[in-house]
């Protein structure tokens, strides 16, 4: 397989500009993530600790194997919303007793670990990742239940959490709940629907209704311990399988449960040499465009991500605005589709379709590296059937059954987002670089379109067109779209699984690929590979 060379000049002005801009964005990102890491703030964390409790992240750190990687997901969930960054919950892929698991931990220092609509979205996404990749789930439970002011946006859809948990069990995917505190009302069904439950003595409270509610409902006098304490559930109701003396004991038992799952990954292990790329990952921050109008060569990215920088290009001379080819990452074979010059033409769409079909023939996971401004528009292209060719590609992406991983390296506009396996197309994992933008189209284009439509409308109605108002309107729309296409904004909406440092791309993809191979890796068969 040929080894890529580099076209990057680290001494160039473009490189320096990109690097400065990217490092600035990463610093902003760290600042936002720090808010999530800080939980509910010093006072709440101190109060929590004073009760002899560990924080959500401390619980996670104690649960996972020392030294093993932990890929946190959706760290910026709820960014740009009225809720705390991180959405009062920690989710991620962690290694427990050598097994990759989905870890879901409530952060009780943020408004008691209550669930708001973003919490729900993030929680459900973690459960989805567990389901599609067949990863055991470990819930670290301590939540005050629903954030009551937002119950209207929450109560009905939140039922899916319990549905997902038991569905995972039906699929043979183990579910474990370690209960450190409140897990009441609907929350009681988290341990209730899990295969394994461990409750901490004197701390876990698992009941449908607490003492006041019981008093109101039946007049009975009761207390927390008799209604839902660890001792009661471990010895009387049997809801708890293990009685944990304290939090450490609970986590220790949780790890023991995982160790005894007799779990086997169904996908193949790494089969290629997993040697490091020939070029420094550090240079990726100088390659990624800060100004998305400037395209960059995706081969320079691939050369810094794939094993040994080895890449076998597929149809290198056809549809050259899209790079396709075979490589491996951390030993796992992948097929890569990467936008080279933004636009997808008919050739690119057909090439992508064939490539996706080939990957399905050979059970090779696909990696989409997005920097896409959309499918080409214009009379010539419409008449030549760009819709039909784009449809082929979207059809292939949709019905492909090999695992898809998507990294948004730059632009993600229009139907390009769909064809290049955006969120709606179910990639197993989707990560974004901090410089990336995602929207139906670019801010100037969208504002311009609105302006043209308004001008035409005025003309057809014979009304005068207010140029000043139009300019103000264009400016406002541009600003709105700029804001809404920002990577943080989309990450806040849980449209991705997190923003990653471009320099960590290989590591993140390695962890993701390892995780997806927990499930069967099998392409769709039926028709042969259509030659477009």
């Amino acid at each position: 397989m040929s080894v890529l060379s580099s076209t990057v000049d680290p001494a160039s002005e473009t490189f320096a500009t990109n690097r400065a801009a990217l490092l600035d964005l990463l610093e902003q990102h760290d600042t936002e993530v720090a808010k999530a890491l800080a939980g509910g703030g010093e006072a709440y964390v101190a109060r929590h600790r004073a009760r002899g409790k560990l924080t959500a992240r401390e619980r996670v750190e104690l649960l996972v194997d020392p030294g093993a990687p932990f890929l946190e997901l959706s760290a910026l969930a709820a960014w740009g919303s009225p809720f705390h960054v991180g959405a009062s919950i920690v989710t991620g892929i962690g290694v427990v007793e050598g097994l990759e698991c989905v870890v879901i931990a409530h952060d009780p220092t943020v408004r008691g670990g209550t669930m708001n609509p973003y919490t729900l979205k993030k929680n459900l996404r973690a459960l989805e990742i567990a389901r599609v990749n067949r990863l055991p789930v470990i819930n670290l439970v301590e939540s005050g239940g629903a954030d009551l002011p937002t119950q209207a946006d929450l109560f009905v859809p939140a039922g899916q959490i319990f549905r997902d948990l038991t569905q995972l069990s039906a699929l043979g995917i183990p579910t474990i709940s370690l209960v450190f505190g409140n897990s009441t009302a609907g929350g009681a069904y988290v341990p209730g629907m899990s295969d394994h439950a461990v409750l901490v003595d004197g701390r876990a409270k698992v009941f449908l209704g607490g003492p006041p509610l019981v008093k109101m409902a039946t007049g009975e006098d009761s207390d927390d311990e008799s209604l839902g304490g660890a001792a009661m559930h471990s010895r009387v109701s049997g809801l708890s399988d293990y009685f944990a003396r304290d939090e450490h004991d609970c986590i220790r038992i949780g790890r023991e449960i995982v160790a005894n799952l007799n779990w086997r990954k169904l996908g193949p292990g790494p089969s290629r040499p997993a040697d490091a790329p020939a070029f420094a990952a550090e240079e990726l921050v100088g390659i990624a465009s800060a100004d998305l109008r400037v395209p960059f060569d995706p081969l320079d990215v691939i050369a810094r991500v794939v094993d040994g920088s080895r890449f076998a290009a597929y149809k290198p001379d056809y549809g050259t605005s899209l790079v396709t080819g075979w490589a491996s990452i951390h030993g796992y074979p992948v097929g890569i589709l990467a936008n080279a010059r933004g636009v997808l033409f008919m050739e690119e769409a057909k090439k992508a379709t064939e490539f996706i079909l080939l990957a399905n023939q050979t059970d090779v996971p696909l990696l989409f590296l997005q920097n896409c401004t959309g499918y080409m528009v214009g009379k010539d292209y419409e008449q030549a059937g760009i819709i039909k060719d784009g449809a082929k590609m979207i059809n292939a992406v949709t019905n492909s059954t090999v695992p898809h991983l998507t990294v948004i390296m730059g632009a993600s506009y229009g139907a390009g987002n769909y064809g290049m396996c955006g969120r709606a197309y179910g990639p197993r994992f989707l990560f974004a670089w901090p410089n990336s933008k995602m929207a139906v189209m670019g801010p100037q284009q969208l504002a311009g379109v609105l302006s043209i439509v308004a001008r035409q409308s005025a003309e057809s109605q014979g009304k005068p067109f207010d140029e000043d108002a139009d300019a103000r309107q264009r400016q406002a729309v541009e600003e709105q779209i700029e804001r809404e296409s920002h990577a943080f904004f989309n990450s806040g909406k849980v449209y991705d699984d997190g923003i990653i440092d471009p320099r960590d791309t290989r590591t993140v993809l390695g962890i993701a690929l390892s995780a997806v191979h927990s499930n069967v890796v099998e392409g769709r068969r039926g028709y042969g590979v259509f030659r477009m």
């Binding site: 890491l37 990687p69 001792a231 009387v236 003396r245 304290d246 990653i500 590591t507």
Partner: protein, 663 residues
């Protein structure tokens, strides 16, 4: 008695390093060897090295290595025609030597009469006096000596007086008395101790020399009338009369003195018709005046220093002489070159009062060989993977360094000991190193009171200071990190939302908490404690780099523990579990009812002492009787039920507390 004949098969009635030492030479001489071993020594190094071996059932010395009948039987069963007794055990038992000869075996040692003559210290002294060998003024005390006679004896000898057992050795039963008032008590207790240890309560008094040096002469005699000495050894570094460091030659002996010592030693050997290897021990005053102490009628532990300065193989000479050959010319006119120092590496815990330690040594590696004109020799009965038991003495190895000069030999020995990989129970290594590097030792200003002036528990404290322990702990943490088996080659402890520090808390030789993290480019950083400064670090095989400075380290990482060795010190660091033992919600020792039922029997009352497994309470539920038993030894501190009490599941029935042992 039979006439001497060449040995065709040699049984070694000993164990550990000396058995291995003898086998080495026997093998060079193409003499097949037979080892004997107790149950505890099954598979020991001397057994592995020997051509054949015979089990001596049991573990105690009395049941095994001291069983004359079993040893003779072993020789008979294997066809051995000679017995080498080594040192200790039966090496100085005239009766054993005699029985060997009676059984037609060659005894590699002096004639039984010579052993007997020297075994009784009182008799030995009389014979030496007669032979003109200088002896300390002394008086023998039999059981009937009255107080007046005792006072007179003390005066005759002169204070300070040493009270010692007439039989036995090894320092047991010895007491120094500074003034007449304390004499009677010392004699009485020496008698008791001697009677218990040696079966004979005969004691004697002699002059005690202050600040004496222990000088001993190696002698050798053959059956052809030759008796020679092979120069002196100095063994002044002793702790409670146990030699710790020995050397040859002595800095306190010049040629003239050496000649006088040699003449005295040869005269002593001749006086008792000595044959084979022997040692005449002298006590030497600071002015060079010396007095006969005793003759050791065997090969000494410290014989290697003599071998290294003379180039002779004393075991070979022993076997040749026992086989009837005359001493060879190189022994008859011995030459000496350079200086040799021996250190006795012992499995013991020096700072806690020299308690013997025991257990398995995962690694037991002391550098051996010839580097830059320095020769290092290691005589040991153990290899990596072997265990030291508590049944016998805990001498792990003798490490001997030879160099042209004493300074170089001593520092080479210290260096070798510093770098030794001793991964197992504690040893006296640190004491040996500090002694060898002590200014008084380096200056040769030593005497047998060295450890009275310099507290051995202080000299024996760990070589690694706090700052070095920090570095060794960093090496251990890095070894843990780099030995982690991970499916993916991603940075250790990688996190996408936090810096990814991985903390290991160590205990063991020192308590340290070390955090390490691996950067994206694979480089490592480390921090000791929560607020320690940040270091750039790297661990390569045998090397640790901290902030650009590289030092030699050797790291042996196991599951949950790490051994780190460097030439400046060593540390055994044990990982502290991330999961401490859980806090208890109920009183420890509470016994709960496993199911609802009725108490039908109560076997104990509050305050009773119970043993693990003892029945305490019997419950009846659903027609079955369930016995609640004591989970551990302890005392019943609480009893909440009586016959007829109805109990629910989880009810506390009885509490058994563990009582701390008195004292």
């Amino acid at each position: 008695m039979t006439t001497p004949r060449p040995i065709t098969k040699l049984l070694i009635a000993n164990r550990a390093e000396i058995a291995c030492r003898i086998i080495r030479t026997a093998r060079e001489m193409l003499i097949p060897t037979v080892a004997v071993y107790s149950d505890a020594d099954a598979g020991a190094r001397h057994v592995r090295l020997a051509d054949e071996s015979v089990r001596l059932p049991g573990n105690t010395a009395a049941d095994t290595y001291l069983r004359v009948d079993a040893l003779l039987d072993a020789a008979r069963r294997t066809g051995a025609d000679a017995v080498h007794p080594g040192y200790g055990f039966l090496s100085e038992h005239a009766e054993f030597a005699r029985e060997c000869l009676d059984a037609g075996l060659t005894f590699v040692g002096p004639p039984p009469d010579a052993i007997a003559a020297m075994g009784n210290k009182v008799e030995a002294k009389a014979r030496m006096t007669a032979a003109g060998v200088p002896v300390l003024p002394g008086v023998t005390l039999d059981d009937g000596t009255g107080d007046d006679a005792l006072d007179a004896a003390g005066e005759q000898v002169g204070y300070p007086v040493l009270v010692k057992a007439a039989f036995g050795g090894g320092g047991r039963g010895m007491r120094v008395v500074a003034e007449p008032a304390a004499l009677a008590d010392a004699v009485e207790s020496a008698r008791r101790e001697a009677a218990a240890a040696f079966g004979d309560g005969l004691v004697f008094l002699e002059r005690y020399v202050t600040n004496p040096r222990h000088i001993e002469m190696q002698v050798f005699a053959d059956t052809h009338g030759n008796t020679v000495h092979l120069f002196e050894r100095e063994c002044s570094i002793q702790r409670r009369h146990q030699k710790v460091i020995e050397e040859a030659p002595s800095v306190a002996v010049d040629e003239a003195l050496r000649a006088r010592l040699g003449d005295a030693a040869v005269a002593a050997a001749r006086a008792i018709g000595y044959v084979g290897a022997g040692t005449v021990e002298f006590v030497m005053a600071p002015n060079g005046e010396f007095f006969f102490l005793e003759v050791n009628t065997r090969l000494q532990v410290e014989h290697p220093v003599t071998e290294m300065i003379t180039g002779l193989d004393l075991v070979r000479l022993q076997l040749e002489v026992a086989g009837g050959a005359p001493l060879p010319p190189e022994a008859l006119a011995p030459e000496r070159h350079g200086h040799a120092v021996e250190a006795r590496l012992v499995a013991e815990d020096v700072p806690t009062g020299f308690l013997p330690t025991s257990g398995r040594y995962r690694a037991l590696e002391t550098g051996e060989g010839n580097v830059g004109g320095v020769q290092v020799r290691v005589d040991t009965g153990y290899e990596s993977g072997d265990s030291v038991s508590t049944f016998y003495d805990a001498l792990l190895a003798k490490v001997i360094a030879w160099a042209p000069t004493r300074d170089v030999a001593a520092s080479a020995l210290a260096h070798t000991l510093r770098r030794a990989r001793l991964h197992g129970p504690r040893t006296n290594r640190d004491l040996l190193v500090r002694t060898l590097e002590h200014p008084e030792f380096v200056a040769g200003a030593i005497d047998t009171a060295f450890y009275e002036r310099h507290d051995p528990s202080e000299l024996g404290r760990p070589l690694a200071d706090s700052e070095l322990v920090d570095r060794l702990a960093i090496a251990a943490a890095l070894a843990r990190a780099t030995s982690a088996r991970t499916a993916l080659a991603v940075p250790y402890g990688w996190r996408n939302t936090a810096p990814g520090w991985v903390t290991t808390t160590f205990t063991g030789d020192a308590d340290r908490s070390v955090s390490v993290r691996q950067a994206r480019d694979g480089t490592w950083h480390a921090r000791v404690g929560d607020d320690g400064s940040l270091h750039d670090v790297a661990l390569e095989p045998e090397r640790l780099q901290i902030d650009g400075v590289t030092m030699h380290v050797s790291v042996d990482r196991l599951v949950g523990e790490t051994w780190v060795d460097s030439e400046h010190g060593n540390a055994h660091l044990v990982d502290v579990s991330r999961f401490p033992p859980p806090e208890s919600s109920s009183d420890a020792g509470s016994l709960h009812s496993p199911l609802p039922g009725t108490v039908v029997r109560v076997d104990v009352a509050v305050g009773d002492t119970v043993h693990a497994g003892a029945p305490l309470v019997v419950l009846e539920a659903m027609k079955m009787e369930h016995t609640i038993r004591a989970p551990h030894d302890g005392v019943v501190s609480e009893l909440d039920v009586a016959v007829g009490t109805q109990v629910e599941t989880g009810a506390v029935l009885v509490v058994v507390v563990v009582v701390a042992e008195a004292g």
